[in-house]
């Protein structure tokens, strides 16, 4: 019994009254079975879900640590990597790297009034840093119930430093940016200016706004700040000397089309585009923002004769020895075409350009015909809107119907209005071997000349160089001579249109100069609007007395900057390159 009992119960510690339940699996049926099955499947789903989540986490860990090499960035503030805020717009620099436009941090100061412990003391300190702010206003702001009040927008770095030095809790800075133009009005029309949010409103800032946003590196313009300064200064001098309304000028590399300087006067300060000019309170903002080089179209007058002569020589309707009778004025319709510097005799082609004969030029153009003239001007790009990296460009004005009288007047630059920029681009093509290259304001790589379009033959270009030298040597542009730099060019004095008539007393004097003309490198175009004669000019306000001497001064100042070495103008090599055979042995009349 005892043994059986012992055998029955293998655990001596178990109480005797405890009977283990029979170990048979209970197989439920009906609803219990269904409930158990549902429970199991739910468990399975949960387990799979958990497994999935852990798998995702595991994979992500593997991805971050193994595949991304730790490059992933934390989203949590403390561990977030510090990155430099990228300026919204790239800098603009000149061809030598001088900053023309830059984006600076310009923090704005605000206050959280609740955090200001002693508003009266804080007001006193703030007013000490910003003497222009009224203390009553600041005190009102600091004691207001608002949670945020602006104290001052766009602080200078020094002001920010001073505010930090005050150490007032509750004053905070908001990061803001501001476009700054260190050179102020020197490059105003080219660089333009930016408005709110640094969006470009004019000039390169506007035309290349998108590119400036995307760029990280500064945008290098073709401008040279030194040349720009010289050009502007000399233009201003002409304007002051002859009490002119305004002026424009540009310096261009004739072999690449790069614009090295472009000035239009009067101008404005892009840092404060709307502010009035203390020197000229009468001028409107629109007047000062008007870029005469690209947005102004002008009847440029006699400087257009270089195109007439080039057309006649290139199309073969005239040769260098052709002669035209300029002894009598031409009467056509209600117009009479006469010469300003009349010689009253038969003139040959070099003389027509040298003495700037309207009659001769008109007859040359008529000999070539309307179609050839129109085609030629179109080929030089003078009949379409110029393309350049600023948004202010104007389309030329020319007659829709090219009548004979139009042919005659266009021959000497009346009846067609073009921008000085278009003129300079076309004039560069006449002297550089006949290749027309689009003008650009963006610096090209050194030694690179863009693919141009051959518009006249190299031979005609060579003849044009000789003829333009003659104008300066013996003709109307003699005051543009800059000894050593072999200047060639052409003067132009146009009567301005007022209403439907030409106004005799309102002139537009311009000069296109190229140096050294025997191997052209640079073109200087200058123009003054409504110059008035002064005592030194003996009653003249024509181009020969106003902008021609200015060109001489400009060339003498910029040539050393550009590294152009002066040559002996009487040396045989220079003479050989510039001689005009048809005038050989002929005594030239003094202009």
């Amino acid at each position: 019994m005892v043994a059986i009992q012992y055998l029955d119960d293998d655990n001596p510690c178990r109480p005797r009254h405890f009977k283990p339940p029979p170990c048979v699996a209970i197989v439920p049926d009906g609803p219990a079975m269904a409930a158990l099955e549902a429970c199991r499947s739910r468990l399975l789903v949960t387990a799979v879900l958990f497994a999935l989540v852990f798998a995702v986490v595991g994979l992500r860990v593997a991805e971050i640590t193994l595949f991304e090499g730790g490059a992933a960035q934390s989203q949590i503030g403390r561990f977030r990597a510090v990155r430099a805020p990228v300026p919204s717009h790239a800098d603009i620099v000149d061809r030598n790297g001088n900053v023309l436009a830059t984006t600076l941090d310009s923090p704005s100061l605000y206050a959280v009034p609740k955090q200001i412990i002693d508003p009266a003391a804080a007001t006193g300190k703030i007013v000490k840093v910003f003497p222009k702010l009224s203390s009553a206003e600041i005190y009102g702001k600091l004691t207001s119930s608002k949670s945020f009040v602006w104290i001052k927008r766009h602080l200078t770095p020094r002001e920010q430093y001073d505010v930090n030095q005050l150490g007032i809790p509750g004053l905070e800075f908001e990061h803001e940016e501001r476009r700054l133009y260190p050179d102020a009005d020197l490059t105003s029309h080219v660089v333009g200016y930016a408005g709110i949010d640094n969006a470009g409103f004019a000039g390169v800032e506007r035309a290349l706004d998108e590119e400036l946003k995307e760029r990280r590196e500064p945008l290098q313009l073709s401008l040279d700040l030194r040349l720009q300064y010289i050009l502007k200064e000399e233009l201003q001098r002409v304007i002051d000397d002859f009490t002119a309304k305004g002026g424009a000028g540009l310096i261009m590399d004739v072999n690449t089309g790069e614009v090295l300087a472009m000035a239009s006067l009067p101008d404005f300060d892009p840092n404060h585009p709307g502010a009035p000019d203390p020197g000229h309170p009468g001028l409107t903002i629109a007047d000062r923002m008007f870029n005469r080089n690209t947005l102004g179209v002008y009847e440029l007058g006699s400087i257009f004769k270089i195109f007439t002569v080039a057309m006649a020589l290139d199309t073969g309707t005239s040769t260098i020895t052709s002669t035209y009778d300029a002894s009598h004025p031409i009467s056509i319709g209600r117009f009479t075409i006469s010469d300003y510097h009349g010689k009253h005799r038969v003139l040959n082609v070099p003389e027509i350009l040298m003495y700037s004969s309207n009659i001769g030029a008109a007859k040359m153009a008529v000999a070539a015909g309307a179609q050839k003239q129109r085609e030629f001007l179109a080929r030089l790009g003078l009949l379409k809107t110029p393309k350049i990296e600023i948004s202010e460009v104007a389309a030329p004005h020319y007659p829709a119907k090219w009548r004979e009288v139009s042919v005659m007047t266009i021959a000497f630059g009346h009846g067609i209005s073009v921008t000085p920029l278009s003129f300079a681009t076309a004039a560069a093509a006449l002297v550089n071997g006949g290749v027309l290259r689009q003008a650009t304001l963006v610096k090209l790589p050194p030694g690179y000349a863009p693919q141009g379009q051959q518009v006249i033959s190299a031979k005609t270009s060579d003849q044009m160089r000789r003829l333009m030298r003659l104008v300066v040597e013996h003709g109307t542009g003699s005051m543009a001579a800059a000894p050593g730099y072999v200047v060639g060019g052409k003067t132009g004095t146009a009567d301005k249109i007022s209403g439907r008539h030409y106004a005799e007393r309102k002139l537009l004097s311009s000069f296109v100069g190229i140096f050294p003309i025997n191997a052209p490198k640079y073109l200087v175009l200058t123009m003054v609007d409504e110059p008035h004669p002064n005592k030194q000019s003996h009653g003249y306000a024509t181009a020969g007395w106003t902008v021609a001497p200015a060109t001489s001064r400009i060339v003498q100042r910029i040539a050393p900057v550009l590294g152009v070495e002066p040559v002996d103008e009487a040396s045989p090599e220079v003479q050989r390159a510039l001689i005009v055979e048809s005038l050989q042995g002929k005594r030239l009349e003094a202009y």
Partner: protein, 183 residues
């Protein structure tokens, strides 16, 4: 046996836990340091930008022109000042003159008064006939070679300055370097 393995695992848990936290804090402090340096770099970059703008402002052609008028009164280069190129400027004479100069200068520099050594040295340079001939001959392509030929036969030259180049300098910097090397 079971206890030993438990102790082992517990120890391992403590060690790895400690190691993990140590590494974590080390990384954290290094990241903080990195961020601090980055912030400082950004501040410096901002300062550089500001200073560049300020430099551009202070060196405007207008300002420079005004300062020039105030302090220097420099005039634009006149054409006549450019008639002579760097190649036309005569070099400091070479050859025998140079050979004599250093021995003459050295003993005097030790003993004599400071002003005395200048004159004899300068005189020997000027008077030597070969030296005179070099600068006065007009510029010609064959010239540098001739100058070298004149200098070579003198035996002392090689002993004193073997590195002295005989050719003409093409830039001002080179000229200055040559002059400095000949001293």
């Amino acid at each position: 046996m079971i206890r030993l393995s438990t102790v082992f695992w517990l120890l391992l848990v403590f060690v790895t836990g400690f190691a993990m936290f140590t590494v974590k804090y080390a990384v954290q402090s290094q990241e903080d340091e990195l961020n601090r340096i980055k912030r400082a770099t950004i501040a410096e970059e901002h300062a550089i930008r500001t200073n560049e703008a300020e430099w551009a402002y202070l060196t405007r052609p207008e300002t420079l022109d005004e300062m020039n008028r105030h302090y220097l009164s420099l005039a634009p280069i006149a054409t006549k000042q450019l008639r002579v190129t760097v190649a036309d400027i005569p070099l400091r004479p070479q050859g025998p003159a140079l050979a004599e100069a250093p021995p003459a200068a050295e003993p005097l520099a030790d003993s004599g008064p400071p002003s005395a050594p200048e004159e004899p040295a300068a005189l020997t340079v000027q008077v030597t006939p070969a030296a005179l001939r070099v600068p006065t001959t007009p510029a010609a392509p064959g010239k540098p070679a001739r100058a070298a030929d004149l200098a070579k036969p003198t035996p002392a030259k090689a002993a004193v300055k073997p590195a002295m180049p005989a050719r003409r300098p093409t830039s001002l910097d080179e000229l200055i370097a040559q002059v400095a090397a000949s001293r």
